[in-house]
Amino acid sequence: MSLGSRGRTAFASGAVLSTSLALFFALAVGAIMFACLGADPLRAYAVMARGALCSGYALGELLVKAAPLILTGLAVALARTMLLWNIGCEGQFVMGATASAGFALYLAPDWPAAALLPATVLVGAAGGALWALIPAGLKNRFRVSEILSSLLLNYVAILYMEHLYYGPWRNPQGFGFPGTATLPQAAWLPTLPGSRAHLGLVLGLGLAAALFVALRRTRWGYEVRVMGLAPKAAAYAGMNLPRQTLTVMALSGALAGLAGMGEVCGVQHLLQDGLAQGYGYQGIIAAFLGRLNPLGVVLAALLLAAVMVGGQGLQVELGLPSSISVILTAALLFGFLAAEGLKGLGPALKTRAAQGGG
């Protein structure tokens, strides 16, 4: 008992230390970049903070961005807990969005809201899960690295979605613009009054809590964690690694698919260019900054969302390109790595890397 709580405190203080080091590193990199662009770094950061936090609109936008980041972050973190690399969240995101949109537009457009909305949500999750089962199956059957297969499938998913809304799904009343028709209103996710923040956020928070409990308090979670910490011991104990690989990758894909569903049913309300804007890749950053802990992922996703929304403020007020925020988020991840390395506290991550490679 005392061991457990000591471990937890060590984890918490370690997390605070490495996160603050990561933040410091990212702020330093950003300051250099701002200076190179001829902007006063302090002023730029003040603008970012104001842009992200100091208005109701900004907070709403922050929550809009945080929702998909929480879900893709959870997706990466869950897979990583059992040593699986799901780099394919972007593709699963797209497939979730595509499945939801297709379902709401073509299969069940006349359903009443009470039935259509939950069904659309589930179809989105299923779309992501099915797409994630491909790399899982290839890994089980042919030992193909899921890093490469899941990543390559991202390109396939995006091309497929584009094919649909440039071709068979293109809106006939869309004046030739590529994109589907608008989803029936019954399939729209309810939003927080006065903002664009939608139900996807609640979904993300609820699933983070559920995952936190499931990983720590259920037999399934115990198996997943043992397979992550000691795969050989897990196999020796008779745990079914291939089956769990399928389950975990499917769940991971479902989380990413939900993120895509949220984006299409909660924000855009149709499939069009610009839907896949890298939430899948940013999820990798959220997962590691959150140290693979579901609740940590929520905090990391909020931080990343703040950086993104703050970046838009930079564009408005200082005329700096908002894409600077992507570089800041990458710097955050490097900062996390530096912190792990400097503390010499990364043995767990190091041994994991040994099995994750190639």
Binding site: W85, R143, L148, L159, Y160, P321, A354
Partner: protein, 309 residues
């Protein structure tokens, strides 16, 4: 239609070069024990740096050099984190790709419609008139010849020289290599940077020769395909060439179908094919590897090296 076939072969060779450069570089890095998933990011930054310098100076050679340097600088970040700090190679590589994509998109915005120098075709006298092989292999630009010369050179260096032995030892068994006096960290650092130089060159081949100009995300996954080709090649440079040519051939087929207006395979399927077939190739590589039962990946790939236990 022998003429068509020769044209397809010429485009296939042209289309394979960026993947070939990047795959050769990644192969060397992996041989030394460093997995670098940042190839896509290094290629993007290389493509942008090459094009930017080219647009300023109109000198393609200088531009390609700048692309190489930029790729090398990116790789240095990865080397500093993984070799220096012993950080997780997968996470560091992914960060590098995210960083490269962000950085090039951000810095490249003003260059989107600019024009720069182009590596012109330099047909080799005598050889260019060979039937079929002439147009395919000997009516290309300098970078194509360079890539094809580099392949056997790297093969020779890895398998037949002392430096190659030290690289392989660092990747197979770093602790024994260290004990017998191989400077493992220096070798790994150097090989990682070498990989970055070639990825940068591959990127600048795209922006200076293959599809001249800068477009955000213009590598379109070729960095990842290069990493897959390294797995397919079972870490043999000559097979990496075969893998790259296969990718090039698929790309050339797309052009061919487009040019002839053939509806045999829908264009959207054609665009997906390179990625799908790369996955198929990975399946194939692992199957044949299992059948032959030989170890392929360097044994210490992905493992950080430090003297402390």
């Amino acid at each position: 239609m022998p003429g068509d076939l020769a044209i397809v072969a010429q485009i296939a060779v042209k289309s394979s070069v960026a993947v070939l450069f990047a795959a050769l570089g990644e192969l060397v890095a992996e041989k030394s024990g460093v997995l670098n998933l940042g190839v896509e990011g290094m290629m993007l930054v290389g493509a942008l740096a090459g094009f930017a310098v080219g647009a300023q100076t109109q000198d393609p050679v200088l531009a390609a050099g700048a692309g190489m340097a930029a790729g090398g600088a990116m790789a240095m970040i990865h080397a500093a984190f993984t070799v220096g700090l012993g950080a997780d190679q997968v996470v560091s590589g992914l960060s590098l790709t995210i960083l490269g994509a962000g950085l090039s998109g951000f810095l490249g915005r003003p260059l989107v419609n600019a024009s720069g120098p182009v590596f012109e075709t330099l047909a080799l006298p005598g050889l260019k008139d060979l039937p079929f092989l002439g147009p395919a292999l000997f009516s290309q630009n300098v970078l194509v010849y360079l890539a094809f010369l580099l392949t056997p050179l790297i093969w020779f260096a890895l398998l037949r020289t002392r430096l190659g032995l030290m690289i392989r030892a660092s990747g197979e068994d770093a602790i024994s290599a260290d004990a017998s006096g191989v400077p493992v960290r220096a070798i790994r650092f150097g090989c990682t940077v070498f990989g970055g130089l070639l990825a940068g060159l591959g990127g600048s081949y795209l922006s200076l020769a293959y599809t001249p100009g800068w477009k955000e995300g213009m590598t379109a996954g070729q960095g990842w395909i290069a990493i897959a080709m390294v797995v397919f090649s079972t870490w043999n440079p000559l097979l990496a060439l075969a893998g790259a040519l296969m990718f090039g051939w698929l790309t050339a087929l797309q052009f061919y179908f487009q040019a002839t207006g053939s509806e045999l395979i829908p264009p959207s399927v054609l665009r997906m094919l390179p990625y799908v077939l790369t996955i198929a190739v990975l399946v194939l590589a692992n199957r044949t590897g299992m059948l032959k039962g030989r170890a392929k990946a360097p044994a210490n790939l992905g493992l950080p090296f430090s003297r402390e236990p």
